[in-house]
Subunit: 293 residues, 6 copies
């Protein structure tokens, strides 16, 4: 009966989550790390707000004509991360990624700050090596060598990846902010496309071909009008429509993992940023689910 | 003198309202019904916030080159609706619609939740029968047969209309959310156009011809960036510019009545959602006024 | 391991909840009914916000020198209630109360609007009959015979109880608002104490003796400075300190059940209302737990 | 019928207002002047927010055991004041006060900034001369000779009165902020009581006797915990309870007029400041109504 | 060392400001005048919020491939303006403009309300006479002859300029609101382009040629989705992307001075309006700096 | 002249600050460290908000009958702290404290989180050794040995001090939250007083005598009604009045330094928490200034 089993009671997972890790092919994990933001904190509340807002959406997507009800995925909640201790946080995230990958499942992380992506990409690189392609959708290049002498902040997230992912295997889309040095670094180490996301994404699809792709989406790639709930918004971004279309296009790639980061609920009383994140997650689950059969 | 008569004092009607129901051809009515929302309540505050924000606009529209000062319309305030009692609320709204229609006036309702439209459409159907055309601009199909077994919620507003409006006389524009079952129902009973509003509206204008048209606009058809103050926002919608252009296009149709629903002020500290609603209402009054001569 | 079992992941229950209904003596249930409010809605978000804020408190209470870690209680989440359908909501709440009582456990409900208390008190009255004592802490008498002709609103919550609880077995504390008629009704049917809570509570303790006591606390008994997150605040209330002291005094009574209602998070950006509710719940669990041995 | 007459529709006057100036003995007027604030603006929205929140209160007062339903008073709305033009604003307010006084009615003004009180007191002084007693309840002395060289700001409101009200006929209660010069000025020209309101009010009651009393209450006399919605809050003030008790005590004086100023809704999302103002206004209307028979 | 000199401490100037007026060619000045707004006040907080948000941007612009680090500009803080005294405010602003112009520097004012632009344009007109071109980017025509009889409000800002700038030397771009009379006045005295900014700006570039250009940008030209923090928002405006592109186009003109007005932080909890203003200011400084060599 | 020198322009220091470190006896420093909060972040914005709100207060205190104008103190702005790097932050704070103390000045730090106090107390202990008395006013004991295994969080601030300050030289006042273990630790190592501040402060004054006293005030010692802008509020605290009276009482002690921590502006839209902090700082400056002659 309801009270005993939890059935009949409303829970707080992402809508449509299965109750079982084992049977699910896609695993949703919250990584509320919120430590190194130079400007405005709050991403620690991102994953839970995304779950909360997901209830306002349908499980069925008219875009892909399929439903979460038909895709076995599991929301295993938020990782317990130690406030103030970066190394410990990144270790926990990396271990979670390792396990999901070794279980041959598709990880879908919800940040937290962008640093969250680093140990996940590291876990994927251990599996795929230089086969791995990384696509970043972001307003900022995140290629700083350090920030006030400190080299592990969210402004260095992609720079840290260029340290262990050799070759120009990282695609940076939608970038509209960075230092002069970051853009110089990109010239050598990444493929950087300014301002736009959908158009370059279409262009690179053929060259990527069937290689395994990890996508990291910083919500601030979207204009602050559509996604005001983020720590370092940057005016002049893409619309929510372009963001959704870009996600739908990912079904043309061999998607191996995904994260969405930098949703910071305190700056968005309307909840529309977390809602957009929830809609993106729904479409990623459906796209990945259809690929996995 | 001012204090005695109310002249010289600022009132709280929609800008430019006449003081007299009898001489007005267009009647503005608030229907703050806010009962069945499954997610986030607050539409009960919609009509009053729309009035309050209207003061920030001009009575003159540069789009139509005419002014509210030249159109006799009357804002008769909010209906007094019983909190918690759906049947009583819908009865009161229906009676108000009946009277305005029988007085040969043009009703313009401000919700409240989308359920508000049902008794108004019912009143129009009693007058026009199958001549009546209904145009819905909305993010959601609102065609649910029930919600947790309950069949009178705002998620069923258009489904309730398909129960008494036979034939495919309902046009649904801008729809981007619903269950699989709702889209199946639409195939049989309505004309549903996904994602866009202005383009399909232009396409259907000729086939509608001179038939009387009732328009119901759910503010969530607009993207939450432009209209964050609503209970169930859905990312990926039209811009405020497209919304205004769509309203201006209505002057090509034989407009019989209009409502705007689901404005929920608590989720919009800036007031821009109510302001957009006020601007839409101004343009509808001017368009309807010019048709009525 | 963590991801599979949920261990190691942060959940969203009230802090310190056990994982098992069976072994718990105290059962926490959310009843997010939010239907009949005449003024400002939002209580549907109350239970989840209380859980969220509880994380900011300690499990240990220095007031009672004991800890939730030593009391087996279980948070079974929110009941799934049908939006817009009062009768169905109250039936679901009553059934939950019936089960908890028949399992000889202590129910602790989190509203939701005050109407939530009615089926719970009804369930207790079926067990204890006229032995049952009801203590209401509230700013409002809640004794309206109806509101705009409708007799099931939160303004009638206690009036509905006087319909099935004969004798003056209801104590109303802290009341500072009502109609003339409500105060007349109270003279005949309840024991009403104006403005204060702690002082009259001490006075009535002896006369109540060992009879089973159900306490319903409407958060608006506290002044809006301390509890701004509520739908119908009433200036001139008690402090949070007096509220806590009153709860601590309840350990002198034979407490059978408890509810806390009318916490409405949208009106409190700081979260302190839900936090006060969480602290009160902690103290009630500890007080009830020590009585149950 | 409802739509035509406005009956049956919810209006936006202060609760319980009569429909007729002539028959009313007490006149409520909004004076949304908001021009000279040195710190944070917003008092222009005060009167309308007070009306809006009044709906959340009962017309009956358990404190005085009487109801607005039994007192003929009239809310004539907000004066239309020219933004940016101080002299014109103060002239309009003075004319409204003159008329109400010459009609032998009791004026009750809602600010707006404290400068609003100056022309009203001027109007009373023209009638009563040195018989007139002024009681100010306020956190600030408001005795500045100027602010950056400008002598008509709200920081000079009482200083302006000392210019035309000779003798120590002004009582200042609750004062906890001012410049050294203001306190020196008070020594010569007013009776200033620091920090407290109720205690000094009781002490001066006998010496005031039956002289006509005008009370001006700046909401910031109340601590910002209870009244956060004001432009220049000052920590360390009285509670809402002491404010209400002080108002109730006014029935021991010969009350001739009243104003409540500096309610600034933008700084109070909960609305409790305007609500406290509404409750104070209800009690003043009831107290003044009982004196007028 | 840091504490003594301020080095090492974070200050609150616009990012990258020099420490010295003398060596700077571009001077940033806050003019927090906020007096005549007819609707919602708050622009007095604009300049400081813009500075605060600027910290979230980079000094380097990828759009222009140059950095504030290479342009000597100086933020001299906010002018001290007398609250409530329009004439004194406008005199202070005019004197500041006079000095900067006579020192052959480029003034960049941050309002405050739009009235701020009038004395600055007056100062430029004294230097350049009819050579001067004024470009206004705005939702409103601001050509009112008066507002309630008062002729110095922000709704008359451009009208006041037409009084002393003869010939059609004022270009109005993006206008979508005004009275019928304002549009008539524009026909005679200005060049008014409706709805759009970038397209007409490109069209008029050739005809303006090398004449000195002063640009005044009212942030409400941008749609309230992108710039909600303003007093009189007007739905249906340009995107932040079009605003940025328009600013970048200004490098094709002989830019002499610039202001950005009507940023009102209280209506934008996310800060994105001030952030967009900061980004615009960065681009203007870089564009003007490159012109000045 | 104004623009060049900054004179005539409004700056953003705490009201009444001198322009010179050398001549000042009291030094105000912002330490916006915001790294280890387990619950809700935001204290990094505390110092700047306190400065901003200080403008709403007078420099003159009627409580002490003296003015900041007569006390030479200097606000040297915020320390530049590395986000995410605790050790570096604490080193910077310690160095600032060392310098101020070695210059024989009185340091007044504004946090930031409570961890900020640790290096400051360390600096004082190096000077005074066991002569030093520490008084903590706080809701929480802050005596945790670690938090999730991490020993440098704000929940361990006082525990860290007990590591290097031997003897029971720490007085903890107002404590109403902690774990059982923290209260056990307090029994051995500190003097802990529950719930109240003013009463125990008076009691310990004599026994402290003339020993040098460092006071650390966590704003959450005040009830969240009066100080909602903090990360871990705890209901049931002291009033703002008691806080001010406690600060005034400090003039009876030999005050050597002071800090106020945990002001977190994002949770307080009204700004009253920062305002209370500003008022407390004013009173501390005046009290310390009078002691220093």
């Amino acid at each position: 009966m309801g009270l005993k089993s939890g059935h009949g009671c409303v829970d707080t997972k992402f809508m449509g989550s299965a109750n079982d890790y084992e049977k699910a092919g896609i695993i949703l994990v919250g990584a509320p790390m919120d430590l190194t933001t130079s400007f405005r904190p709050g991403t620690r509340f991102g994953p839970q707000k995304i779950r909360e807002m997901s209830v306002g959406l349908e499980e069925y997507s008219v875009y892909q004509d399929c439903s979460l009800a038909n895709v076995p995925y599991y929301d295993c909640g938020d990782l317990e991360l130690v406030p103030g201790d970066i190394d410990s946080c990144m270790k926990s995230i990396g271990e979670a990624a390792d396990q999901i990958i070794s279980d041959s499942k598709f990880p879908l992380f919800m940040g937290g700050e962008h640093t969250v992506s680093v140990p996940v990409v590291d876990a994927f690189y251990k599996k795929y090596g230089e086969e791995l392609v990384i696509i970043q959708m972001d307003a900022h290049a995140d290629l700083r060598i350090d920030y006030l002498g400190f080299d592990k902040s969210h402004a260095s997230a992609i720079r840290l990846m260029t340290g262990f992912v050799p070759g120009k295997n990282i695609y940076q889309l939608g970038i509209r902010s960075g230092t002069r040095e970051e853009f110089s670094h990109a010239l050598q180490h990444t493929n950087l496309y300014k301002y736009h996301v959908l158009k370059p994404l279409r262009e690179i699809t053929a060259e990527i071909g069937n290689r395994p792709v990890y996508v990291t989406l910083d919500i601030d790639v979207v204009d602050p009008a559509f996604a005001n709930g983020t720590g370092t918004p940057e005016p002049g971004g893409i619309s929510s429509g372009e963001a959704i279309d870009s996600i739908l296009h990912l079904s043309n790639l061999n998607l191996a993992g995904f994260d969405i980061v930098e949703v910071s609920p305190p700056y968005d009383a309307s909840g529309r940023t977390a809602l957009l994140a929830a809609k993106i997650i729904r479409e990623v689950i459906l796209a990945a689910g259809s690929q996995r059969g």
